[in-house]
């Protein structure tokens, strides 16, 4: 028995001629799902891409590639799952490949160590009367700069969990690492940010309310 074009086209029921002409019902359904589930996250993906690339033109390229890949691979998206997470995963992979790097391997400290070290940051801030700097001082520009300066794995963890409000589980999927690694990277990233911000406050001559 020979395969007809229609049989080969499989589930879509689309023939080679259909692909150039009339759109099949499967194509229409796919495009409707893509429009409904993927396109609403364009702004979010752009924001994430920009935080990774830190250059608008690079972010544009990453976003375009992300959505083109998502469209071409739409059959691998599981309906009903978190499409934003899926797009973030593609976006990060596109970004990493664009840098022609392997996934970075990081010498990770124990998350516990970073949690405890954050206590030291607080103790130092308190000693200088800076323990309310985050409430009293507009540190947004300095915070953005400090975040941009973080090494990529830590930056991604902080952006995904603390800025984009993803769960540890979702961030782990996006980053392709275990949840424990997300936790370690997140804690390290937070601790490094706090250290930088306390230094910034000091450099600005911030006068703590409760300096002691």
């Amino acid at each position: 028995m020979s395969h007809s074009a229609g049989t080969f086209a499989g589930e879509s029921g689309m023939t080679a001629d259909d692909s150039r002409g009339d759109r099949s019902a499967a194509d229409v359904a796919r495009d409707a799902a893509f429009e409904r589930d993927a396109l609403p996250w364009l702004d979010d993906v752009y924001r994430f891409a920009l935080s990774l690339t830190r250059e608008e033109s690079d972010a544009d390229d990453v976003v375009q590639e992300t959505f083109l890949r998502a469209y071409r691979s739409w059959h691998t998206f599981i309906p009903g799952t978190d499409c934003r997470r899926w797009l973030f995963t593609i976006c990060r992979n596109v970004f990493l490949r664009s840098r022609e790097r392997q996934r970075p391997t990081v010498d990770l400290e124990d998350g516990e160590q970073d949690a405890v070290a954050a206590g030291s940051v607080f103790a130092a801030a308190r000693e200088k009367g800076y323990d309310d700097i985050f409430a009293r001082l507009d540190l947004a520009p300095a915070l953005q700069e400090a975040l941009d300066d973080l090494a990529e794995p830590f930056r991604s963890a902080v952006i995904l969990v603390d800025v984009e409000d993803l769960s540890y589980e979702s961030a782990a999927e996006v980053m392709g690492v275990p949840i424990g690694t997300v936790r370690s990277r997140l804690f390290r990233g937070r601790r490094l940010l706090q250290e930088k911000l306390v230094t910034v406050a000091e450099d600005l001559g911030f006068q703590g309310a409760g300096a002691r």
Binding site: S19, R23, D27, V28, D31, A32, F34, E35, L39, P40, L42, D43, V45, Y46, R47, L50, E56, D60, V63, Q64, F67, L68, Y71, R72, D110, E112, Q113, A115, V116, A117, A118, G119, S120, F122, A123, A125, R126, D131, D132, F134, A135, L139, A140, L143, Q144, L147, V158, V161, D162, V163, E164, D165, Y168, R183, L186, F187, R190, L193, Q194, L197
Partner: protein
């Protein structure tokens, strides 16, 4: 607890209960610990000024980081280019890319 961690806690002059807060405050704020653990930390924080100060410090920090989520949208120029490229792929909803969802 590891020896370096124990040493750091001693340097900070923290009690064992405060140490638990120090270790798990981020897990607590991120809702990554059990309800029983969360309740234990909550009760201690409520009665310990030092830990309450630490919680406020961390909460304010996390609020500041979260505020970085600007309402930053994809530029129109990007939407135009992406729409054209999706059109080239045969995507039927390419025009919707131009219009902000």
């Amino acid at each position: 607890m590891s020896a370096p961690a124990r040493s750091q806690l001693q340097e900070l002059g923290l009690s064992a209960t405060c140490a638990e807060v120090l270790h798990h405050l981020w897990d607590y704020l991120d809702e990554q610990i059990t309800p029983e653990g969360a309740e234990r930390l909550r009760a201690h924080i409520a009665s310990c000024p030092q830990c309450r100060g630490y919680e406020e410090f961390q909460e304010c920090f996390l609020t500041a980081v979260a505020s970085l989520r600007q309402e930053l949208g994809a530029p129109e120029s990007l939407r135009e280019r992406l729409a054209e490229r999706l059109k080239g792929q045969g995507c039927g909803c390419w025009e919707k890319v131009r219009r902000k969802q």
